[in-house]
């Protein structure tokens, strides 16, 4: 009996504020729950609509502008994947550089590089939003400064980019708006340091003898990296990359505060769209169905990535 007594308080609380709401949400997703059903005194019950909400979402038939479900899902997956690739590559790169024996000021660099992680995310997002401002943002000032070195005047139109709202894609054959690249930049600033911390931990567990042996065999620096470093990094980096994928997939802050989904909802991700459906459009039933989709997508992502992790298991396991 005793074990359950320790669990009781936590599960009692979770029953009310986690499990019941989740079950309620599933029920809600089959109804046309709206503002009128809120008021407890009116007692207006929502209508049961079956799978209508789910079908409307899948067929992008919602009465809100710029909603295309397949595009949203694809963008969200690509957003998470592209971020994780950039973060891992940069994180490992910096960790390898900082691991060079005899490098000066190592401790100072390590302390500086962790700074983005310690700042609350809402501040990171709002500050980067202002950094990418068209006329007053620091990013455009830097571009103007670099242009100035080559004698280009500061009012060249290309130096006043509307980073967060420009409608035309910057690269004609890649269907991604400029705002995506701004978000990627901001999230890279935020994301690589933790990857670097994880990679540093893994690098420091590699026995030095392995490098010495590789050197004696005449391995080039690239061969050493490829055949000694990478196999040791993989068991540590892979789980973290999967975890980073899930976190970035659900990263509410950047799309919501930086771009607000612009241009035309193309930088919206699932969680921000769900929030908007409920809070701005008052489509509670639809938003609930949307969250159920979100849950199954996350489940699929977890299962696929876990399979991937099993298939590429390496030494340390």
């Amino acid at each position: 009996m005793a074990p359950y007594l320790y669990l009781l308080p936590a599960f009692l609380v979770m029953a009310f504020i986690t499990f019941y709401p989740l079950a309620f949400q599933v029920w809600m997703s089959f109804t046309d729950f709206a503002q009128v059903n809120f008021n407890v005194r009116l007692h207006v019950a929502p209508h049961f609509v079956g799978l209508e909400n789910y079908i409307d979402i899948a067929e992008s038939k919602l009465a809100i502008p710029n909603f295309e479900f397949p595009r949203l899902v694809l963008f969200n997956l690509w957003w998470a994947l592209s971020n994780v690739i950039v973060h891992v590559v940069l994180g490992v790169g910096v960790a390898v550089v900082l691991n060079a024996k005899g490098l000066w000021f190592k401790g100072i660099y390590r302390a500086l590089y962790i700074l983005p992680v310690v700042i609350p995310q809402i501040i990171v997002a709002t500050v980067w939003r202002n950094m990418f401002d068209t006329d007053s943002g620091a990013v455009n000032f830097v571009i103007q400064g670099i242009g100035g070195i080559f004698g280009l005047p500061a009012d060249t139109p290309a130096f006043h980019l509307d980073w967060l709202h420009q409608v035309n894609d910057p690269i004609s054959f890649i269907p991604l708006p400029l705002a995506y690249f701004a978000m990627l930049t901001a999230n890279t600033w935020l994301g690589w340091p933790l990857n670097s911390v994880v990679a540093t931990g893994a690098l420091q567990s590699i026995p030095g003898e392995l490098y010495e042996a590789a050197e004696m065999d005449g391995a080039s620096p690239w061969q050493k990296f490829r055949n000694v470093t990478v196999p040791f990094l993989r068991p540590a980096m892979l789980p973290y990359a999967i975890y980073g994928f899930v976190i970035t997939f659900n990263l509410f802050f950047l799309p919501y505060f930086m771009t607000g989904g612009s241009p035309f909802g193309r930088t919206e991700i699932l969680v921000t769209q769900a929030y908007r459906l409920a809070y701005e459009q008052n489509l509670y039933g639809v938003a609930a169905a949307f969250c159920v989709y979100l849950f199954f997508l996350l489940l699929a992502v977890t299962l696929v990535t876990n399979r991937l992790a099993q298939a590429t298991k390496s030494y340390a396991d």
Binding site: I17, F141, Y275, A288, C291
Partner: protein, 317 residues
């Protein structure tokens, strides 16, 4: 799920014997200089947004937007700080009022989730009982869900209750109490998981000794396990505090209309974006720094103990 693990703490290399013998070798000067340039460049990109915000916050010209990049603006002053402390937004709430509300949410949610979490974590780590695996998977599943997924049903659920207590009468949803409960819902699974992970690493010798001396199970928990887990409790509590301190989406959805209940993060967002055309960026910058500094400083000092927790999902978007 393999995505849960702890990276090695930063700045405290795990040195093997072979590694330390390599440590004495120095880098050729040319290579050293190239790497120093690279490291300085990375440091610059990391520091750039931070320096930008600091320099804006001390800009005395009271211009609404910066027109160039300046490190230390001419005649730097703390005017903007004075302004945001007395009247941060156009609404009638002072910085101290916002601070008090943020503190209530942060302290409340952190204390409740750690208090309930440590009991459940003890049961999961030390006791064997039926349904243990299933319950742990349930908690892990909830941990993976983004908080957006439960926010809508919780809004409706809490909206049904009126609290009448000590002369106060309010709607539970539109109150700091309701917001705190919702934040607990997203933090409790993390607290359980993080504390369980820590308890799993603590040897059981002391508990066994106490049991031999005739201590009851609850005595063992209170007199042995609890004191041993103080470091993990502190870390989990701080991460929970950080989550509540910078929470935005629940708070805004639940009490956005209710200005006396506004928190720092709602005020911060009202200082950027399309509704803030008249707010000077100096004020935004000063506000962001006042908001970030207390938590960032604590985080920075104790990062060795905290980044590991972050990697398990301390901050949920």
């Amino acid at each position: 799920m393999t995505a849960v693990f702890r990276p090695a703490p930063i700045g405290k290399p795990r040195r093997t014997r072979a590694n330390s013998s390599r440590q004495e070798r120095t880098l050729p000067l040319r290579q050293q200089l190239i790497l120093q340039v690279a490291c300085l460049f990375i440091a610059l990109t990391v520091l750039f947004p931070i320096i930008w915000v600091v320099s804006m916050s001390i800009d005395p010209r009271n211009i609404s937007r910066p027109d160039a990049l300046t490190l230390i603006p001419p005649g730097a002053s703390l005017q903007a700080y004075e302004k945001v402390v007395t009247r941060p937004t156009s609404n009638d709430i002072s910085f101290l009022g916002l601070l008090a509300n943020s503190l209530k949410i942060a302290v409340g949610s952190s204390v409740v989730s750690v208090g309930l979490g440590v009991l459940a974590a003890y049961a999961f780590s030390r006791l064997r009982f039926r349904g243990r695996e299933a319950m742990m998977i349930g908690i892990l599943g909830v941990l993976m869900l983004p908080s957006v997924a439960t926010i809508i049903p919780l809004f409706i659920f809490l909206n049904q209750f009126r609290v009448d207590f000590a002369g106060l009468s309010f709607n539970l949803r539109a109150s700091l109490l309701g917001v705190t409960m919702t934040i607990v819902a997203s933090q409790l699974p993390f607290a359980i998981w993080n504390l369980k992970g820590y308890l799993d690493t603590v040897p059981r010798d002391l508990e066994e000794a106490a049991a031999v001396d005739g201590a009851s199970q609850f005595q063992i928990f209170r007199k042995v396990v609890l004191p041993l887990s103080i470091p993990a409790i502190a870390v989990t509590a701080f991460l929970g505090f950080l989550g509540g301190w910078s929470e935005y989406l629940t708070t805004y959805m639940f009490i956005g209309q209710n200005i006396p209940d506004w928190t720092l993060s709602i005020a911060l967002n009202s200082l950027v974006g399309q509704y803030a055309r008249t707010t000077s960026w100096s004020e935004f910058a000063a506000f962001a720094i006042l908001f970030a500094l207390p938590v960032s400083a604590v985080f920075f000092v104790f990062q060795r103990y905290l980044v590991g927790g972050l990697a398990v999902g301390g901050v949920k978007g």
